[in-house]
Symmetry: none
């Protein structure tokens, strides 16, 4: 079954609104065993909408049309739909009654242009809108079924969920479609997409029912497994097989699955080991603390971070010695070491991570160019320092530094602990 989406509205073409409806619809649809073949976005222009309705209905089985059902002059969808179907617009009495009741409840009067919202192409199936004033309608155009829903996200979601998806299910079973899809993200860190691809490529042939996709969100790279099967169980089985075959190939780069985050995984491991963490951050400027505290319950394992941009605060909060700072500069292995030791001693934590580096764009030297970052880990077995050289702009260097620190602790705290 070929499903396409047509989104209408000037705001979707002028940088005003990012289309989040489509992302949401696609996710829902996958769970119903289908996928969007194409999404088309047009403005509030009669000819564009008409041409798109004709083209899409000629090649798709189902078209979800959103937007342009409001009361104003630039809301053209219903009349263009009627034109495409060669039928007149008719007043829908049930929708009018609902509109009047809705307005009366709010103490508003129905204006002339509100009446526009209850005009639908003759012969269309109408579904009342539980959360707004424009009803949705469904129309056959050639062999395609077109669903017309409002573009307001709350109304869009309510109607797609309660009216469109159930009808798509019916169309699927009428057509004898049974296939199901199951999806999983395997999340890796510091593994370039090309390397990730090269590692899993040998699996592709043996897993014919699974699509291997990739997604980059620096410094994470995600392997996306999408399995198909005639039943939900078959799709899940294919997914589990591809998952089991992929994991060994990703090695230590694999840090999480689906909605898991790097900081969340570190937190979960610390919690399981009943261990705690403190930080001393310089160039990451609180980023690592922010990542960790996004997780609810972080206070069980995260004690705090001394974000010491000024050298005096490195001395005062985590006890870096003035002499060490003078002799080596703030961005140095000895300072990183003292920051981590001081943070751990100050907080009384199991672990402490420190980061000091040059995020740029200024501050680099020949000896210590922009991107030079020292990360130290202090723990029950002592202190280690790693020197990094990251490439890219300020934001990238900060992000890479934060991930490198957390990833180090992630690998160190796998397993049962003390």
């Amino acid at each position: 079954m070929r499903i396409e989406a047509l989104c209408t509205g000037d705001e979707l073409l002028t940088g005003v609104t990012t289309d989040t409806n489509s992302t949401w619809f696609q996710e829902q649809l996958l769970a119903h065993g289908e996928q969007v073949a194409r999404t088309t976005v047009v403005g509030d222009v009669r000819e564009e909408i008409l041409e798109a309705l004709r083209t899409l209905s000629a090649r798709a089985d189902v078209v979800l049309v959103s937007g342009g059902l409001g009361p104003t002059a630039d809301d053209l969808t219903a009349e263009v739909a009627a034109e495409a179907a060669g039928v007149p617009l008719v007043l829908h009495l049930g929708a009018l009654a609902a509109l009047k009741e809705r307005f009366a409840r709010r103490g508003l009067t129905v204006t002339e242009n509100n009446l526009k919202q209850v005009q639908v192409p003759a012969g269309a199936e109408v579904v009342l809108n539980p959360v707004g004033s424009a009803p949705m309608f469904a129309l056959r155009l050639g062999s395609a079924v077109l669903f017309f829903v409002p573009g307001v996200p709350r109304e869009y979601r309510a109607l797609v969920e309660t009216a469109v998806l159930p009808r798509i299910d019916v169309l699927r079973s009428e057509r004898g479609e049974t296939g199901f899809r199951a999806l999983r993200l395997l999340k890796t860190v510091f593994l370039p997409e090309s390397h990730l691809d090269a590692r899993v490529r040998p699996l592709v042939a043996a897993h014919a029912n699974v699509k291997f996709g990739f997604r980059t969100h620096f410094p994470e790279n995600h392997l996306k497994l999408m399995a198909e099967g005639r039943t939900r169980e078959e799709a899940l089985q294919a997914l589990e097989a591809a998952d089991a075959a992929s994991r060994p190939l990703l090695g230590d780069h694999l840090f999480g699955v689906d909605g898991e985050t790097m900081a969340g995984v570190v937190g979960r491991q610390l919690l399981a080991r009943r261990e705690t963490l403190a930080l001393a951050e310089s160039c990451t400027g609180g980023r690592i603390a922010d990542m960790l505290t996004e997780s609810p319950g972080a206070s069980a394992y995260f004690l705090g971070s001394a974000v010491s941009y000024a050298n005096e605060l490195k001395e005062r909060w985590v006890g870096v010695s003035h002499a060490t700072l003078l002799a080596n500069g703030a961005v140095s292995e000895p300072v990183a070491r003292e920051m981590a030791r001081g943070a751990r001693a100050s907080a009384g934590s199991t672990w402490a991570l420190s980061v000091t580096g040059i995020a740029g764009p200024d501050g680099g030297t020949a000896e210590k160019p922009v991107g030079t970052v020292f990360i130290a880990l202090d723990g029950p077995e002592g202190t280690e320092v790693r020197a990094h050289r990251f490439h890219g702009g300020r934001e990238l260097i900060r992000t890479a530094s934060a991930y490198a620190a957390l990833d180090w602790l992630r690998l160190r705290t796998r397993g049962a602990g003390r």
Copy 2:
């Protein structure tokens, strides 16, 4: 001139990625006097891409094609472009040299599949990618010019900005296109969109050449002014008139313009006054420090943040008294007060902000429900504390708290200072 966008990638059709590139491109394009007529999104499917390339190039003057230029097997764009143009793929030596140098700098080896990224349709104009390994290329197909850029947002933006938009400018002037647009965002904070709309609505009639749009990015709401004119000057004049009329209606909610950020504005003001800031953060967990240190040069005014999740660190790092914590609990006005005073004393800064609150989802009580947040500001004239009650989930409460703290200091540090 008709401009269309073609976005490719399964991730854009399976609910994995929301297409934010298009929103950004549309904004840029408006500033260059043009508008996207249609956006089409297809998956990594050879036939879909080919059909779309043919259809779009038949009806548009310019097509921006994004995605599918990576090294993996599902990256099909270059070869499909070659097929559409009826030319072979050829190795681009300049791009290969850049790729090798890029990988060598990072100590990586070029794999076989990386070579795929430097194959372009014969006869295409190639522009090297300053921030990634896939170059962009431009190709004529019939009377249309097609630009092919990577889908990774950082690379997409860099290449569209430096290579695509200037070429579109040239095409415009070749075609004798006049008509200009000028764009400005007036950024407000803590002003709901409906209120913002109601405030500026009276202006709409008097500014016929200006479109008033709105954009929400909690807790910011942006007023988007888009002016049109036959010349650049005319568009700018209309824009300035609408800007001047709007500002008084936005009052203190207006914090910045276009690319300015809340933390950047606070930093700029502190810098101008030669003043400094320290923080003591609890429920914001380093978020405010992170926001401030995103700006290059933040070390000139930002000294540090004591992110003290654990009460012991509130005592140790910023000298909150044990008795105050015991008597009032960590989320209280007295603790917020002592945190701010302690941070300021410890850092020797002009100002200190502190935040302590309950971000949830757990930890709320009848007396102090989730969303209860105390913010203190300590400065040359003493200490003040404000009690807030934010609504929403953990992320919203943290974000609102960070903005409320920074916005307080923004209003306090306007003007020339000491």
